[in-house]
Symmetry: C2
């Protein structure tokens, strides 16, 4: 180990974007004075309004977190009880859980070796008369093959939901990513490019969904006399919304700073044999949410797990997103589609991926130093 | 209408307890500096620790809201899929929804005419070999008949969960209310005596539940390598926790102020024929969360709905908690136990109850004036 390269304090995979205290206090002051702390307040409504422009969609509903949003997206589509939803195993567990919580059955589909998203070639063979929807994930902000998925969905009459947790403000061939499929979910967790502390939203271009999602988010309450849905509490409070409003003014600059960090990582790491940088395709904009690499053990000389552990010695806390696969989870591993034979690509990639520290304030010096550490790790 | 009694600005049923801005900003400043915004931060852990004392229980797990907490309580008990949970229709819809979201079946049991909680005399006749649990509600902070329910539960081997949303810091025969049953849920919504903007917690005396609830609240994640449950995102963020820590120092004083308001209401309204004040039994302490009345149309000369509407003309926004019943909701009204013949008491009471404005800062003058308005409404 090269002790001089070790960081004095831990460097984590991310650090949240936060507005200045002064601006936050100003907003909070207004909330305090109004005493309207939650339940569709003025900040909540302003954030929804502004997000429609930012995300380029006709409808936005904000939520207390992305998981409750995704859960509600599936509920709002009235999929038949117990029907099957084709989805990717290469994602955060919330994706699969949101299917299960809706009394639907996840069917895992393998991913493409390059895009790491649902392999459209494999989707069709998994469709049965029990299939009701496809739930794709724009993992690391890499868009799913939205055109191929659209064609399949139309052919079989399936709904399409996208987990766009990593794809805030992404465009695909110049079109806003939230315009594809029936509904897209964006996460606003502290670890995301744009955050509301905890939070998330649903984005959609079908105006008729707005009312139903509104009810589902608030216990199914239509008015003081009528409860029309089995809803949940998905309400975003005024403090979360205030942080969101302020971060809307900041995320573009944060993206620019991350772009600079990314260019350092790309330049230095692509020169190391055995390290592949996961790229966003040219037809899409980069949401700059994650910096993901793939480790080739044979070429680099160390496995992903070995690099991960060595980096810890240097006080660098990388993350193995997305290992384990959802199909590896105790509650899912016994369903037929979870078998490794059905998911050869995902099961290979889960041992290769490593996400490196990536946020605007990381500093160029630290980015260079992390690259230097990785170079020196090479046996 | 007596125009001189009309309020200039709306008087709502409640107004949230909030700490001083200065104290809140001090806490928020610490969060800003640490940049640890959510995911089991220091404020979160401090709040859980202090709530154990306040609620007099061995285990407390805080949540982003009470609904997700109640949902998780039922999940944590591993009730058989599709089994039946005996519950009250006289409650907020979240109670019944939490059963349905868990793929369990609500079975409505009528309430007692005096306590407005589950009638233990009727519970036994609803038990079948499919029954797995009883979900009681300490409505308005009136304790369920916890001893009778315990006896029944032990006889039939049922789990017991209490929705204690309205019963923060209540004691029953000198015992903390959260010690009854397997798990109790407390709500910390802005409308509750003690609030964390949105929020809630589970309280329990079985230490083995702590770990399972911890996983379920955070996607089932045990560690970076293992996902062991179909969890949800129920995490309370640091800002909510900070408001909670500060409100812990304030709620006792708020209760004292509400006690004064309550004594005015009690004295003046009990003198009006046809208005009955809903009382907390002497063996329990009063959580002071709601001030509920029952209107006898024959004796008063106006129905509850008529009084409710007239009060609006005076800018007084009372609430008909809990009308409609959960058994009236579109998604539940067709299940057999939802029939009015099974629920005669609840179906009578739902037309009688009216909750009046009740919070520490209401002011004695306004309490008197609201009583005066009600007196003048009498035909």
């Amino acid at each position: 180990m090269n002790s001089h390269l070790k960081f004095q304090t831990p460097v984590y995979v991310t650090s949240p974007l936060i507005p200045s205290k002064e601006k936050v206090f100003e907003k909070f002051d207004a909330i305090w004075t109004s005493k309207w702390l939650t339940n569709h307040g003025v900040m909540h409504d302003e954030l929804e309004r502004r997000l429609k422009d930012v995300l380029g969609v006709q409808g936005v509903s904000v939520f207390n977190n992305g998981t409750i949003a995704l859960l509600t997206a599936l509920t709002s589509l009235d999929l038949p009880l117990g029907s099957e939803v084709i989805t990717t195993p290469f994602t955060f567990p919330a994706t699969t859980h949101s299917i299960t919580w809706n009394r639907l059955k996840p069917v895992f589909c393998d991913i493409d070796n390059k895009t790491l998203t649902l392999d459209p070639q494999r989707i069709e063979s998994l469709i049965s008369n029990r299939t009701s929807a496809i739930l794709g994930v724009h993992v690391y902000g890499i868009p799913c093959d939205v055109d191929a998925i659209k064609t399949i969905a139309e052919k079989y009459g399936l709904k399409v939901v996208y987990d766009a947790a990593h794809a805030f403000s992404t465009e695909v061939h110049g079109k806003a990513i939230g315009t594809f499929g029936d509904i897209s979910m964006f996460s606003f967790h502290a670890t995301k490019l744009f955050n509301t502390i905890e939070g998330g939203c649903l984005a959609y271009n079908r105006p008729e969904l707005q009312e139903k999602i509104y009810y589902l988010r608030n216990f199914g309450i239509k008015n003081e006399e009528e409860v029309v849905e089995v809803g949940i509490n998905g309400k975003m409070n005024e403090f979360q919304a205030a942080v969101g409003i302020l971060n809307l003014d900041l995320f573009a600059e944060e993206k620019r700073k991350r772009k600079k960090i990314r260019s350092i990582y790309e330049a230095e790491l692509s020169a190391i044999e055995g390290i592949d940088v996961v790229m966003i395709p040219e037809f899409a904009t980069n949401s700059m949410e994650y910096f993901a690499t793939r480790i080739n053990k044979d070429l680099f000389g160390l496995s992903r797990d070995e690099i991960y552990n060595h980096l810890k010695d240097y006080n660098v806390f990388a993350r193995k997103y997305f290992y384990p696969l959802c199909s590896d989870c105790e509650k899912y591993r016994y369903i037929p589609s979870a078998g490794p034979a059905n998911l050869p690509v995902a099961n290979k990639i889960k041992h290769e991926v490593l996400c490196l520290p990536f946020y605007g304030d990381l500093s160029e010096e630290r980015a260079h130093r992390i690259c230097e550490i990785i170079r020196t790790l090479r046996p």
